[in-house]
Subunit: 301 residues, 2 copies
């Protein structure tokens, strides 16, 4: 168990490094004009983060026999999209957060105007990278189109941005479980699912493999959010680098608020089991995906 | 002359209608969840506007023998990008404008948070549409990739967003003509050029035609901005629907400020002539492009 845990950590560290060195390569150089904008874009991308979306994308690609290197442009694009969403979420008009992962948020360092534009820049840069003729040279143009379409659908008003709006509009109001699941399947789940489905496409998954990985992605994405909600309640400030219980203070609906802490943990376990069973058709190639599902859920216990 | 003017107006009206009915078709329905977000997205897209980018894209496609209908998805995508940029530009942290084209700006109607997200949603929707398998069915996937790449490059930190940052950072400071041209070739010129180059690609332009249309696009894009600067000084509030001379009040660099009103008009005329000469290889199919270049410049006299 300790051994297995150590191996997962080493795997995650290696993948984080792979993603971060690719991000450094693909992002506009800091001395490219306008320097302040590119500095702000890089600040948030490199302000820490678990790189869970790139890691899941690589792991899904590997599960169907691909190499993690194949997905790097898409893995970086999805991380740019994730970073942009955090910059905009933290703005005074939105969550008004001064710190994230223990560091000042983008607008606290660069001001609101640059923060808005750095987010816009990162979102656009993601699609610039996905459509760059110098990347994905071994991928069919149809598969590339599909990946672009997936990332756009999962991150826009029909996905992440839509989830953010319903989340905001639900603040301080009593909401039911279906609404909470709508929020999370859109706000965070959609992009996690897109990471996994993109990894499957780029790795050359057949239809059955792709369906299985999507089922895994839906369960893992929701499990990730349930676990985050639980952590928000129980973790101390040092560990998370943000205000403890800040979601609750803001009157945001969470799984523990709706199901109780035990009920939320039970839900996380159920989702982990769905994720596991979705991977039954895969052999050892899906070991990273299995361990990641465990890791996501277990950190909330 | 009066007859030619009337024809151009009829042409523009017809193209505006074509673009607007396609926008209505391609944008998420107003009753799609979250309704407030999709309502806000539609509000700004349909708050008027000259549709100059879609019109130029259609005209470039026609110049090389294509039909305006071929470009509609890309024309709508570029208009969504343009609309998103206006929403974010108007935010309190940016230009803090309460009115645009005589109507309350997005954040005045929907609040800042929704305005930020409506902008994000429109930008993402543009790439969703460009990668939609149900559009561009007669276009090669390589040409589609190129159009996506062009629109991303021209609108992101290497294009429009970058120009916006340099514009902001130059406020209240003495700047020279090269910096002013950097701002405009990036902030507005890049997207106008991308509209024309996309139209050329979708219409099946050969290399010579594409080069000629890009030269036209660079000149017309800059001419458009010079004319806008002139109009900002001379037009009355009713005509523009925004504060007269607001750029000047804000200490923004403009062509009239740098070159004088006569010098700016001379520059606009020069750019129009470059645009004209770029079109010499085309026959009557480029008539709309020629008339639009005249129209852009002449409205500032």
């Amino acid at each position: 168990m300790a051994n297995s845990e150590w191996q997962l950590q080493a795997y995650l560290q290696e993948r984080i490094q792979l993603a971060e060195s690719a991000l450094d390569r693909f992002l506009p150089a800091v001395d490219m004009l306008p320097a302040s904008l590119h500095d702000a874009m890089r600040y948030s991308v490199f302000a820490g983060g678990k790189r869970i979306r790139p890691i899941l994308m690589m792991a899904a690609c590997e599960a169907v026999g691909g190499s993690p290197h194949q997905v790097l442009p898409a893995a970086c694009a999805i991380e740019m999209i994730h970073s942009y969403s955090l910059i905009h979420d933290d703005l005074p008009a939105m969550d008004d957060d001064d710190f994230r992962r223990g560091k000042p948020t983008n607008h606290k360092v660069y001001g609101e105007a640059i923060a808005i534009l750095a987010g816009d820049g990162l979102l656009t840069e993601a699609f610039l990278l996905l459509s760059n003729p110098d990347v994905f040279k071994d991928l069919s143009t149809e598969a590339r189109r599909e990946v672009i379409h997936l990332l756009a659908r999962s991150s826009g008003s029909r996905g992440m941005v839509g989830g953010q709006v319903v989340d905001m509009e639900s603040e301080g109001q009593p909401i039911d479980l279906p609404t909470l699941e709508y929020i999370h399947t859109h706000k965070t789940g959609a992009l996690i699912l897109a990471a996994i489905e993109s990894g499957a496409i780029i790795g050359g998954a057949d239809a059955q493999q792709r369906r299985a990985l999507c089922r895994y992605g839906e369960a893992a994405g929701l499990a990730f959010q349930v676990a985050d909600d639980i952590l928000d309640i129980v973790a101390d400030q040092q560990e998370l680098g943000k205000d403890v219980g800040s979601d609750q203070q803001r009157g945001k609906a969470t799984y523990p608020a709706l199901l109780g802490l035990d009920g939320a943990r039970e839900r996380a376990r159920e989702l982990r089991d769905i994720a596991f069973s979705s991977l039954e058709i895969f052999d050892a190639s899906a070991r990273p995906l299995r361990e990641i599902a465990s890791y996501i859920v277990d950190r909330s216990f």
